[in-house]
């Protein structure tokens, strides 16, 4: 400390070199902002616990696919006795399992994976919102960013990128790994024949990313603290879901009431991206996907408008 102080007391010994290089454009600040946000998140133990739980779902799909493929290669043509249900070809049995568990590398596999992972993403986002952006507004860290040569949009993009990276680490990236795994297990032709699934996975990922990122940034900058944020998130994705289900499935209201369930809207659009074949019954209780897209677009737009206003008005915080 003494050494440091003596150095500080003799600043004439320390010279800044004039910077002769080219400054990176303000847009290059987006990643450093996201990196700082992600570092804050990664340093939380709770994040890793939930991430590992999320990873378990991925491992279930990954090894489920692998196990069934392996079992299929091991199964012979000889029929086996299935208890009192008669004899059955093991290959057909495995095929049946695949169909039931939706571990057949089809659209439904990825759709299910996104749905299950989505729950974990919801929980983490609800807990992480205050860390990612809420604390900046709550404790007044924003001037550190805004006094640097970047615009408010870069700050928002940086924070949004952090959320997007996290969402895709939990959903899109593992889904792509499953896609690659299935292609390697089955046949290279899978990559060509089911290229639409790759596009669908990316599409679902984009819908999920855009919607949840904007929603999280808006709610976190509004509520800032973790507990209110969790309550808001629960209301949006749990109580609204219950209410929509009660209205449509129970009280036989119009399927349009399902639009208040944002998660259902995301699933609908995601299913459309993956081209999931819905059952007739399920279709009867769902709003048109166009309406769901409108609702999601509207919510995203509202969030965006709020964020612009929020960041402009950040000075009023103090």
């Amino acid at each position: 400390m003494g050494e440091s102080r003596s150095q500080a007391a003799a600043p004439e010994l320390l010279h800044y070199r004039p910077w002769r290089g080219a400054f990176r454009p303000p847009a290059a600040s987006v990643w450093p902002i996201a990196r700082v946000a992600l570092m804050s998140l990664f340093q939380k133990r709770m994040f890793w616990i939930i991430y590992v739980l999320g990873l378990l779902i991925f491992l279930l799909f990954f090894f489920g696919q692998y196990l069934l493929s392996w079992a299929q290669t091991q199964a012979g043509e000889t029929e086996v006795q299935m208890g009192g249900w008669g004899r059955m070809n093991p290959r057909h049995l495995i095929q049946l399992f695949r169909g039931l568990l939706k571990l057949d590398g089809g659209a439904q596999t990825y759709y299910n994976f996104f749905s299950y992972q989505g729950y974990m993403v919801m929980i983490v986002l609800a807990l992480a919102g205050s860390i990612l952006i809420g604390n900046d507004l709550r404790f007044g860290s924003l001037p550190f960013y805004l006094s640097k040569p970047l615009a408010r949009w870069h700050y928002l993009l940086g924070k949004g990128l952090a959320v997007a990276v996290f969402i895709n680490l939990m959903t899109t990236l593992p889904a792509l790994l499953l896609y690659v795994q299935w292609g390697l297990l089955e046949s290279w032709d899978y990559f060509y024949e089911r290229f639409d699934l790759l596009v669908g996975i990316l599409g679902y990922g984009i819908v999920l990313t855009v919607t949840l990122t904007l929603l999280l940034l808006a709610t976190a900058s509004w509520l800032r603290r973790t507990v209110p944020l969790v309550m808001m998130w629960t209301t949006l994705f749990f109580f609204c879901r219950l209410l929509a289900s009660a209205l449509v499935d129970g009280l036989q209201f119009s399927p349009l009431w399902k639009l208040i369930d944002l998660w259902n809207d995301v699933s609908l659009i995601g299913g459309l991206c993956l081209n999931v074949q819905w059952s007739e019954r399920r279709l009867g209780y769902q709003p048109p996907w166009g309406d769901a897209a409108l609702v999601l677009g509207g919510v995203s737009l509202l969030c965006l408008i709020y964020l612009v206003r929020r960041i402009r008005a950040v000075e009023i915080v103090k």
Partner: protein, 374 residues
């Protein structure tokens, strides 16, 4: 009294500051419109235009809903250290945020180095040390400063170099590996200052930089600020530590109710406070041919004849002195001191001590703010 106001003081930051005046509606007598003291050319910052101010605020106003935060402020800075003082809620932090581009003025405009303060180009010339010290507590000081360096637009390698240089400069190089959570208030201030110095800005805006710093640290900071000013940097320092601020600079801008109530050197502002005559204590020595009582009274009588003197007070002598001091209240200090000099020489008074009692920044601020709130 240009000889008094413009006299260089080795203990203070050299300055080239122009202040155009105050907001509309401010009493003119409190508004200093000052001739610029000349500065050594070597100390001037390398501006694109030789006479362009580094910071130019023109009739800047900012509202927070129905509340006005900053009201028609006009300010012009070129180099040196300027103190920004005022009561809580006077609008200091808002003005600083406007200057640093964190806020956008509702009216008027602010230019830094010829660029709109709101633009990213302007922010390359500004270093801001905000009052709040809300960091990411899990990060180390080094990580935080380096992250800020990346935001300045430096590539990773250059950002690291600059981080080390800035940390050394604020005396934190050896302690920057620790988590910010464990930092004292003083260490946090140093880290904040380091991130403001990263890009070697020409304009440094510091909001309460001395708050929470220990006495040794204060000396280091004051030395650093003086050094920066000597290198041609322009420092705008908002502080409630008036005593420390006086050690740095005698040039201040006083804010009250969102307006610049007065600007200039402390002495210049003090001179304009007509409603609060300057109090000067004069200790006169007893002459060999006079008795002690009449000496004090004779001086008092002579002082009362001067046109700027509005009152004289005779104090009891201190225990070890035989003649009591005289406290005189004078309106126009510059003229008063000239006449006092003439009087002393003509009448052969032997003055032991001459001290102005209420020309400190604190006293001036007190007069101004009390006057405005009254």
């Amino acid at each position: 009294m240009p000889d008094l106001l413009g006299s260089p003081d080795s203990g203070r930051g050299d300055r080239e500051v122009g202040v155009r005046g105050a907001g509309r509606g401010v009493k003119e007598s409190l508004t200093a419109s000052l001739p610029l003291p000349s500065a050594t050319p070597a100390l001037l910052a390398p501006h694109p235009l030789p006479h362009a101010p580094l910071l130019l605020c023109q009739r800047v106003s900012k509202w927070y809903g129905p509340v006005i935060g900053v009201n028609q402020v006009t300010l012009e800075l070129r180099s040196g250290i300027t103190g920004l003082v005022g009561a809580n809620g006077a609008g200091k932090s808002t003005l600083l945020r406007l200057i640093t581009g964190c806020l956008r003025p509702d009216l008027g405009h602010i230019q830094v180095h010829g660029h709109d303060a709101w633009s990213t180009a302007a922010r390359r010339h500004v270093g801001y040390c905000p009052e709040t010290d809300a960091f990411y507590e899990e990060m180390s000081g080094r990580q935080f400063v380096e992250s800020m360096a990346r935001l300045c637009g430096y590539p990773r390698r250059e950002a690291r170099k600059r981080t080390e240089a800035a940390l050394e400069r604020v005396g934190m190089a050896g302690r920057a590996e620790r988590c910010l959570r464990g930092y004292s208030k003083g260490m946090r201030q140093r880290i904040k200052l380091a991130q403001a110095l990263l890009h070697d800005p020409e304009l440094l805006v510091l909001d309460e930089p001395l708050s929470g710093i220990d006495p040794v640290g204060r000396c280091e900071f004051l030395h650093l600020f003086r050094d920066l000013a000597a290198r041609g940097k322009c420092l705008l320092i908002s502080s409630h530590e008036l005593e420390e601020l006086e050690k740095l600079t005698d040039h201040i801008a006083i804010m009250a109710h969102g307006r610049i109530a007065a600007v200039g050197t402390v002495a210049q502002i003090r001179d304009r406070l007509d409603h609060h005559p300057l109090r000067i204590r004069i200790d006169v020595k007893r002459g060999p041919q006079h008795t002690q009582g009449p000496e004090q009274r004779r001086l008092a009588a002579a002082l009362l004849k001067l046109r700027d003197v509005v009152g004289v007070e005779l104090l009891d002598p201190p225990p070890d002195e035989s003649v009591g001091p005289v406290v005189v209240r004078a309106r126009n200090p510059q003229r008063f001191f000239q006449e006092l000099t003439r009087l002393v020489l003509e009448e052969w008074y032997e003055i032991a001590r001459l001290e102005t009692l209420d020309d400190s920044t604190e006293a001036v601020l007190g007069y101004l703010l009390r006057g405005r709130s009254a």
